[in-house]
Amino acid sequence: MDFGPYLLLASLEGAVGASVLALTALGLSLVFGVMRVVNVAHGEFFMLGAVIAWFVASQIGGQPALGFVAALIIAPLVVGGLAIVADRLVLKRVAYNPEATIVATIGMLYIIQQAALMTYGPDARPVEPPFNSRIAIPWFEFGEEGFEIYYPWGLSTTSYKLFVIAAAVVMLLGIWALLSRSKLGLLMRATQLDRETARAFGIPVERVYSLVFGFGAGLAALAAVLIVPIQQAHYLMGGDPLLLSFIVVILGGLGSLRGTLVAALLIGMSDGIISVFFSPTLAKIIATMLVALVLVFRPQGLFGKKAL
């Protein structure tokens, strides 16, 4: 394959990664923005979403679309509910102290991950996509016979991958509407802006916190359900999304949703593209070092205004 088609293929893979990453990172960013805590267990909520999707899909059986749609509804709700319980049982009791919360969520990370190992087991299992037809993509060149369009071998995507991108865009728009147009979004933004004043105005801050924590975890689970037909469910799959979400949220500026989206696009695309052309490990080394240095020299992130 020539460089052009190859780059297009890499960008398409990158776009799938970026859309899932945007949803996952948005969850982390919301939790940080509103509650000012870092949720290290975020990747495990992602993994839990994928594992539950597998359970639901294999329970329902029959038409793959049915199981997939059921998983799309059930997994985020279950994971969100679990996160709310965790918030009530643990985070609320440490009074959302930032450092205690990190240690507590590290504990949750191991509890969730190991519980998945005990119940779901060490195997990687796929979920069947609801539809999965191969779509060949045309490419053009100016050859000897002038402009021509042809289908290079290997340049193709699947209808499901395009669906993932579209679904992520729709969901992101939905979240934007929820945050900027609904009463709930207003409560969240008020809490984020000034917790004490929000409380003084009668906003049940602790309930908003629980809800946001559950919502953030639900978003991670939703992203996982979307990706699990492409990438199999495995109990250790939470590490990468956690690392990438951290990178995105920090580059985008902690708590800045717009920055998170821009950074997710940037990191998701470049991760996809760099991984195709260079070693994925090298791509990750560069990204983690970059993030550490951004935090050191520009703690407000590349796009954000608030310092950590």
Partner: protein, 314 residues
């Protein structure tokens, strides 16, 4: 008796008991305790930063593995004998911790935790990336023939135990003494109130810098000793898990107490040893203990003992 005398007696008594245990324990537990002593040295290093200075690092595995790989690579590829290789490991971790300190100390609180986590992750990935030399996840074994110092075979259980004890005792006595000196008091002052310490005229950055370097170097010494005594060098020791372990040991044993690191490492080791005989998901224990500690006993075992019965406990 003054506090300083009491604490010296406590530490010497502990070392004497550990020395005696070397002869009394069956080989299996003697081997375990040797491991625990080396890991407790790592925990003592971590405690200097977390317990005394109040800086929570999530990346100490990079210092531990810098020591381990400094020694391991020098022995494996350079054919360097054990003692100089150990020195190389210690120097490697000292240099790394100085570099990390300069950068990471520009941040505070949560940002410090994330920066150290990210640096450690980059270090872990670097070890994987240079798999041709480090053999990545698989790691490499240091053969018995090269693991000897001045004619003493470090693979012999008794020699190994006593070497581990020597390392632990040195780390324990040095840090305990350090905390009685002015420098140690300033570290505690930084932990309690950084701004006030600055206002009193102390150079907070310099003290924190030295604390990171001491902490990282002790961790590196433990890593180098672990590689030397147990003959294996692998990327697992650079993974996030090995940054979480010292946090767990110190939290469980009691942050800011001198013998807490040993107590925490001891209980965690045997707890995990027991749990892994029941299930492959033994890390569940680590998660549960972390959550329970943070909820109910932030002071840890020795911290609670100090609070309830023995206020003089160092």
């Amino acid at each position: 008796m003054s506090g300083a005398k009491k604490s010296l007696l406590l530490h010497l008594g502990l070392i004497a008991i550990l020395f005696a245990l070397g002869f009394l324990l069956p080989v299996y537990h003697q081997g375990n305790l040797a491991r625990i002593l080396v890991l407790a040295t790592y925990a003592i290093g971590y405690n200097v930063l977390f317990g005394y200075t109040g800086l929570l690092s999530l990346g100490h595995a990079m210092f531990f593995s810098a020591g381990m790989y400094g020694l391991g690579l020098a022995m494996h590829h350079g054919g360097v004998p054990a003692v100089p290789a150990f020195v190389i490991g210690v120097i490697a971790s000292a240099l790394l911790s100085a570099a990390v300190a300069v950068l990471a100390l520009r941040t505070l609180g949560v940002a410090f935790m994330i920066v150290t986590l990210m640096f450690a992750q980059a270090g872990f990935l670097t070890i994987l990336y240079f798999g041709a030399w480090t053999r990545g996840d698989e790691g490499f074994v240091l053969p018995q023939a090269v693991r000897e110092v001045a004619g003493l075979d470090l693979t012999d259980p008794m020699t190994r135990y006593m070497t581990a004890l020597l390392l632990f005792s040195a780390a324990l006595l040095v840090t305990a003494r350090m905390m009685q000196m002015r420098f140690g008091n300033v570290l505690v002052a930084v932990r309690e109130n950084e701004e006030r310490t600055t206002m009193l005229g102390y150079d907070v950055f310099k003290h924190k810098f030295v604390a990171v370097v001491i902490s990282g170097t002790l961790s590196g010494a433990a890593g180098a000793a672990y590689g030397l005594l147990f003959g294996y060098v692998g990327a697992t020791f650079a993974s996030v898990q090995y940054s979480i372990f010292p946090l767990l040991w110190v939290l469980l044993g009691g942050a800011g107490t001198t013998i807490g690191p040993l107590v925490g490492a001891f209980f965690t080791f045997y707890l995990i040893d027991y749990a892994s005989s029941l299930t492959s998901a033994y890390m569940l224990i680590v998660g549960l203990v972390l959550v329970l500690l943070i909820l109910f006993a932030r002071a840890g075992i020795m911290g609670e003992v100090r609070k309830r019965w023995a206020g003089w406990l160092p």
